[in-house]
């Protein structure tokens, strides 16, 4: 592998036998793959679409390729003739890893066959490279008679084509498009959820405003403790007052039904109800009261019955 300066981005000619150390200042490089990284054939495919042609390539390369895991690329050269490539991203990534080239610095990846088609024979490491029958062929130095006379590759004047490939940086257990579809679906649901969360937050804010409005409308104390204390005190008053009225109603209820007797005094003070009943049927009145009251005192003087009830 050799690093050569080009006019634009630097070009790395990637081979399996030569490793290179990139300058730390280099931010982006273009990679040109040596023929050992790919299989190449010219096929006549009845289509002019590059996409359609690539779809057919797995079956066309089936008998040629030694193992699985290949990806394909096709370049239309004339009519329905395509120069087709089969490559394994895994092998290329391994070679890049061996040379300590991070995937983040790679700009684009090219096939040497496309980029060096007009190059004169050149040498790189222990191999000679020549264009033969529209193919770039890699020949070991020992088998090339004039190897030493060959010049090294010079990429300075090379203009790279648009025929680049995208390496797959992951295994394809599940089809990438399915993963992306599921991910987008999940993300959309998440976005919907976050919108609902925002709506809920907005409703919570409205509730807070409603609370303030209620506080102002009913002139409530600032703290809920104060409100609760006042409500408790007034509820106690309410119950107590209702109790007094109900008990009074009950006591006076006897008077309505009675003919022979009457209540001549009814006095409430300090939580005690004193009453004086005048009549012959005192015992009946006492029985009537005892249904709901505990009578504390019973004084029977002449025709008068003195009673004390604790409310």
């Amino acid at each position: 592998m050799k690093l050569i300066l080009s006019k634009k981005l630097e070009i790395v000619f990637l081979t399996k036998d030569i490793k290179v150390t990139l300058d730390k200042k280099i931010k982006k490089v273009n990679i040109v793959l040596s023929p050992e990284f790919y299989w190449s054939r010219i096929f006549n495919i009845p289509t002019t679409s590059q996409k359609e042609a690539i779809k057919l390539l797995p079956s066309m390369f089936e008998d040629i390729l030694p193992q699985d895991g290949y990806e394909f690329y096709a370049k239309n050269i004339e009519g329905s003739n395509f120069v087709c490539f089969a490559y394994r991203s895994k092998d290329i990534l391994q070679a890049l890893k061996d040379s300590n080239i991070s995937p983040s610095v790679i700009n684009k990846v090219y096939f040497a066959q496309n980029e060096f088609s007009s190059q004169a024979p050149f040498k790189n490491g222990n191999f000679a490279y020549i264009n033969q029958a529209e193919k770039l062929v890699q020949i070991p130095a020992k088998l090339f008679p004039d190897f030493e006379k060959l010049s090294n590759l010079d990429c300075r004047n090379i203009e790279l084509s648009k025929n680049n490939i995208v390496l797959t940086y992951h295994s394809n257990i599940i089809k990438t498009s399915i993963i992306y579809t599921i991910s987008i679906f999940f993300i959309l649901i998440s976005i919907l959820n976050f919108m609902l969360i925002l709506q809920n937050s907005s409703n919570i804010s409205k509730i807070q405003i409603n609370k303030i409005q209620i506080t102002q409308k009913f002139n409530l104390p600032i703290t809920s403790i104060q409100t609760t204390a006042i409500v408790q005190r007034l509820t106690s008053t309410h119950n107590k007052q209702l109790d007094i009225r109900e008990k009074l109603d009950y006591i006076l209820g006897f008077k309505k039904a009675s003919i022979d007797g009457k209540i001549v005094l009814l006095k409430l003070a300090n939580g005690k109800l004193n009453l004086i009943y005048q009549g012959d049927n005192g015992a009946l009145f006492v029985n009537y009261l005892q249904k709901i009251f505990t009578l504390k005192q019973q004084k029977d003087s002449k025709n008068y019955l003195h009673l004390e009830i604790k409310l």
């Binding site: 995937p103 983040s104 995208v166 390496l167 940086y169 992951h170 990438t176 993963i179 992306y180 599921i182 991910s183 987008i184 999940f186 993300i187 649901i189 998440s190 959820n193 976050f194 609902l196 969360i197 809920n200 937050s201 409703n203 919570i204 509730i207 807070q208 409603n210 609370k211 209620i214 506080t215 409308k217 009913f218 002139n219 409530l220 409100t227 609760t228 006042i230 409500v231 007034l234 509820t235 008053t237 309410h238 007052q241 007094i244 009225r245 009074l248 209540i263 001549v264 005094l265 009814l266 006095k267 409430l268 003070a269 300090n270």
Partner: protein
């Protein structure tokens, strides 16, 4: 992004989804709690307002006195009103049991705090709290 494994994106989306559902659940619970609190708060406020109007308003006693003084049944009766610091003592002197009963009913039917009363044959007295 080209070299980002789609599985990572899937994991990220799953985590985001789970997180969003958890947050949504929290937010729903908070909203339900706030709604319940508001309902409760409104009830307390209405209760507070009603109790305050009924049992903690000096106007109620003033209105009661006005009612008693202009009442046709009690017109011309001997009604004494003694307004003290924290209470008002209202007394009716009458030989008519009907008047005494009506007077008592009118006071008992109002939201006034009856601290004590003394009902006799010819006289009825109510001590009403005004604090």
């Amino acid at each position: 992004m080209r070299f980002l494994n789609p599985i990572y994106i899937l994991f990220f989306s799953i985590i985001l989804l789970v997180f969003s559902f958890a947050k949504l659940n929290d937010s729903k619970n908070e909203l339900f709690s706030e709604e319940s609190n508001l309902k409760n708060y409104n009830q307390i406020a209405e209760n507070f307002h009603e109790l305050k109007q009924n049992w903690d308003s000096k106007d109620t006693v003033t209105k009661l006195i006005e009612k008693l003084l202009i009442d046709n049944d009690l017109k011309g009766s001997d009604i004494n009103i003694d307004e003290q610091k924290n209470k008002t003592v209202i007394t009716l002197n009458s030989n008519s049991p009907v008047k005494i009963q009506k007077f008592a009913n009118k006071i008992l039917n109002e939201y006034v705090i009856i601290e004590s009363f003394d009902i006799q044959k010819n006289k009825i007295t109510f001590e009403i709290g005004t604090k």
